[in-house]
């Protein structure tokens, strides 16, 4: 059996406006080179599922980093911090973009990176992944897992989220993979249709897969929305997509 090992640790990186934010990094032990993955956590926070998923990517041969978008809300348990952020109206899109740019830059500065970086997010992180892939040119591919509110009504816009991400579709800078549950209500299948129509209209490279019998968050094995068959197929789609776009 070949030797296998990984290192996983919390670090501090420079986020939006060069402010320090915390991040969790996992990568295989060794000199590399490894493709990089940046993970944008979901609205429930920088939680155990994201720490585990960061290690899952390391297990599959990626150098992965999950940065804490809620760092500025203070130290605490993930659910308490997420509640504090929710009470303050969420995090601003500009700040998320700056923090994510910081995570990408940190990966790109590492000697063991193969030069390629992908981005993945679930739930609100899926929305932010799509937004980042449109607003930045620093990544090689993006995976939007059931990102809600890519399509937003005027009433949903706020000073922190002033523009619906779908408006930026023409600027999408890399291949996109999207996985969605047909029973989801955020995004609804109709909203996924709208996003897909916009991607087609602008001639973007994308793959969308939609699952019957699944709603929101069907990868979350610790929640009732977990759907094992759809999740297993979804992970195959994710790793197949990344292999295609992140090989050196």
């Amino acid at each position: 059996m070949p030797y296998e090992g990984m290192i996983a640790e919390t670090i501090s990186i420079k986020g939006h406006n060069n402010e320090p934010i915390s991040a969790y990094v996992a990568r295989p032990l060794g000199a590399g080179p490894y493709p990089g993955m940046v993970l944008i956590h979901h609205a429930p926070g920088w939680d155990e599922w994201y720490f585990e998923t960061t290690r899952k990517f390391a297990h599959h041969g990626y150098a992965a980093i999950s940065h804490n978008l809620y760092h500025r809300a203070g130290e605490g348990k993930a659910d308490d911090v997420a509640a504090k952020v929710r009470a303050s109206g969420g995090v601003p899109d500009e700040q998320v973009i700056g923090d994510t740019e910081g995570a990408v830059a940190w990966l790109r500065a590492q000697p063991w990176l193969n030069g390629k970086v992908g981005l993945l997010g679930t739930c609100s992180g899926g929305r932010q992944t799509f937004l980042f892939a449109c607003r930045s040119k620093s990544i090689d591919c993006a995976v939007d897992l059931w990102g809600g509110r890519v399509v937003m009504s005027k009433e949903e816009l706020t000073p922190k989220q002033p523009v619906a991400p779908i408006e930026y579709t023409k600027d999408l800078s890399c291949p996109l993979l999207g996985l969605f549950g047909n029973e989801d209500r955020a995004p609804t299948p109709e909203q996924v249709d709208q996003q897909e129509a916009e991607l087609k209209r602008h001639g973007k490279q994308y793959e969308f897969h939609r699952y019957d019998g699944a709603g929101h968050g069907f990868f979350y094995y610790d929640r009732p929305m977990y759907r094992i068959e759809q999740a297993l197929d979804g992970w195959k789609k994710v790793f197949g997509f990344l292999e295609k776009h992140l090989a050196a």
């Binding site: 009470a87 955020a186 929305m225």
Partner: protein, 95 residues
Amino acid sequence: MCTSIVEIVRAQGAGKGESGWFDLTQAVVSYDHPHHALLEEAITIDFMNEALGPSARVAVELTLQSARELSGALVRAIAAAEREESERRRGSQQA
């Protein structure tokens, strides 16, 4: 957590969190994916003090039906309390 259903009100009183009692500043009611209750969506109520940090929080996650019943109980209890207060005020004016 992809809904935008969030209602925030100022709250005066006290809540008991992990490290004991603390003064409240706000209550946040939302409908979204819960952290703990085995439900796809829940009415979540957080009683908080935003100045004291994230752990100053008393949280509940309720089914919609439980939230309806709680809402009804609050309305009934508040109506009864207001009747009592008004009788007390009348009593003190007559004395």
